[in-house]
């Protein structure tokens, strides 16, 4: 009966420590085969500080309460035809991007944490990974449930897991997680636990969730809140793993530094999608990508790396490039998607006059100089009935898999190209960060499943664009893809709200 007096922390300590026993008939190395090959030296697992401090029974209780509230709101959203109350139908394309690009990463995280948890000799780390794994599974499920409502009213949601595995731009987030999951357990923890969950997560979730709030999407806001209390624990785990490795042995420092350099750059490249979503896909803007980057990366990372300096860890090597790119990133990304709007499972469009003015105001050094003239040309082409769709398959970066649309910050009109030769072949990169990652582990990255190469090799259906986009990707051609203007989504939206397309109004007036 004395157990009742234990507080949660003690209960958790007992839960984890009781799982620790001496191995009598197998060697430690045989049981935890992956613990040492990366070169990380752990001398004492008992120094691990448990970040979660939740026992299973309390975990189920808390999560069940959150789920009850969450699903009540989903129901209310559906019953009140919440889909009709978002700002406008363009907004829903941000949610399509989230469901195809981000939600499957939650599933990959569930899978990854379940896998690496098994590899750690320390029981505290094992249980923490298991808890996070469960959270991630819950997140992917609640996100799918939240968005399934939109699937009834908008196009482009129907094949999200299939698309995640195949579609060219989804190969960017997918390969990021595949890269992490195929690394060793400690590298995975730096990649996902630290870089993604601790440093970059605010740049990913805050814009999507505030974007949802600003655009009337209460279902998405609610799953964001429901996940947020879990995220706080995940961030603690991400920081704990870094501090633990650094405190265990000084030989770990250079290895951890290299992983931080690598994974912050990899993660930042994936966030290109968020940059574009914030500046272009939200009808009601929250803040610009540049503003959010300054708050959630520049300020937050500067203070974080000040803390880590006492371990000998420095600001990542490529942070300076990321900071220089902040005034260009979203525009370059949206240009890529506008170019390839026929090959995307969501709609693209040219910003309205008002939106262009907002972009000029937010990006006074770059927008009018580099991007407005391009958009004006594209708008002219649209008005002439020649909406520009680029029929050439783009060259991709071997590491991040993004089309080569980024420019050199020294001369922002020229594409940033880097090359490496390996084993008689030439490989292309978008940046020094991506090139260095390749050069360090070429045997890993020569295996990259690059969507464009796979198409040319005939591994993605037939030889025609329709074979790849329609049959292999399962994009419903003419419905899910192409410009927002003229799409069935737009037509339905206008019918719900008795809106007329501008052309019809003109016709009637004349």
């Amino acid at each position: 009966m004395s157990n009742r007096k234990l507080n949660l922390k003690d209960k958790y300590r007992l839960l984890t420590r009781d799982l620790e026993w001496e191995y009598s008939y197998r060697d430690y190395e045989e049981i935890f085969k992956q613990e040492s090959f990366e070169g990380i030296k752990i001398t004492d697992w008992s120094k691990w500080e448990d970040p979660f401090r939740l026992t299973m029974d309390s975990y189920w209780k808390y999560q069940a309460e959150k789920e009850k509230k969450l699903y009540a709101i989903f129901d209310a959203f559906a019953q009140n035809n919440g889909q009709q109350n978002v700002t406008d139908a363009r907004y829903v394309n941000a949610i399509k991007l989230f469901l195809t690009g981000v939600s499957p990463l939650e599933y990959q995280a569930y899978n990854g944490f379940a896998h690496v948890g098994r590899q750690f000799g320390g029981v505290g780390a094992r249980v923490a990974c298991q808890m996070q794994s469960l959270d991630e599974l819950r997140h992917v499920q609640t996100q799918i449930h939240a968005m399934s409502h939109y699937n009834k009213h908008f196009d482009g949601f129907q094949e999200f897991p299939h698309m995640h595995d195949r579609v060219w731009y989804l190969s960017v987030p997918k390969s990021f997680f595949d890269d992490a999951r195929s690394a060793g357990p400690f590298e995975f923890m730096v990649a996902i636990g630290f870089s993604f969950e601790y440093v970059l997560t605010n740049l990913l979730f805050v814009p999507f969730m505030s974007g949802a709030a600003y655009n009337g999407d209460m279902a998405t806001v609610t799953f964001g809140f429901s996940a947020q209390s879990d995220e706080a624990r995940h961030m603690t785990l991400g920081l704990e793993i870094i501090k633990f490795m650094l405190e265990q042995h000084e030989d770990n420092v250079p290895i951890v530094q290299r992983w931080i350099n690598k994974w912050l750059w990899r993660g930042y490249r994936v966030l290109t999608l968020v940059a574009m979503m914030m500046d272009y896909m939200l009808p009601n803007k929250v803040m610009s990508w540049q503003e959010s980057f300054e708050v959630y990366f520049e300020e937050a990372a500067t203070s974080l790396f000040k803390d880590l300096a006492r371990y000998g860890i420095e600001m990542p090597a490529y942070a300076a490039t990321a900071i220089e790119e902040k005034e260009h990133l979203s525009h370059q990304a949206w240009s890529i998607f506008y170019n390839y709007g026929h090959a995307a499972a969501f709609h693209t469009w040219m910003p309205t006059d008002q939106e262009m003015d907002w972009l000029s105001e937010k990006y006074p050094n770059t927008f009018d100089k580099y991007y407005r003239p391009r958009y004006e040309k594209w708008r002219e082409m649209e008005e002439a009935g020649e909406r520009y769709y680029n029929p050439t398959l783009p060259m991709l970066c071997q590491t991040c898999q993004i089309p080569m649309g980024f420019t050199d910050m020294e001369n922002p009109t020229l594409t940033s190209y880097r090359q490496s030769e390996y084993d008689g072949e030439r490989y292309n990169f978008c940046s020094d960060g991506c090139k260095d990652i390749f050069d360090h582990e070429p045997e890993k990255y020569v295996q990259s499943w690059l969507p464009v190469h796979q198409i040319y090799q005939g591994n993605c259906g037939g030889a025609e664009m329709e074979d790849v986009l329609g049959e292999y990707y399962r994009i419903n051609l003419g419905v899910d893809n192409l410009d927002f203007h003229g799409s069935p989504d737009e037509e339905r939206w206008n019918a719900w709200h008795n809106l007329q397309p501008a052309e019809d109004k003109l016709k009637e007036a004349s």
Binding site: N390, M395, L414
Partner: protein, 105 residues
Amino acid sequence: MRFYPLEKLINLHDNYMRHFKIDHREMLLLQHRGELYLIEAHCPHRAHPLDAASIDDGVIQCAAHHYQFALGDGRLLHASEERCRNLQTYPLVFEGNEVGVMLDD
């Protein structure tokens, strides 16, 4: 000015294309319908390599965004984004059994 030999005449034929790097300059030597051209190796728009470009009827079209330039004088003929400068072309110099280019030292 200095003469840089590029290719022996005997090696030239229609659809010939070769990339040269002289100091910081990168150039493409190509033969199209019996005419020989020497142009800069990257598109003036976004610096995409032009060795992947298609050539038709005296017009070179970059693979990346389909910008078109006249091979003869490098004029920009078609832009699918904002306009860019013309393509740089270099006059060819024939010396003995070789073709080359005169460049500043």
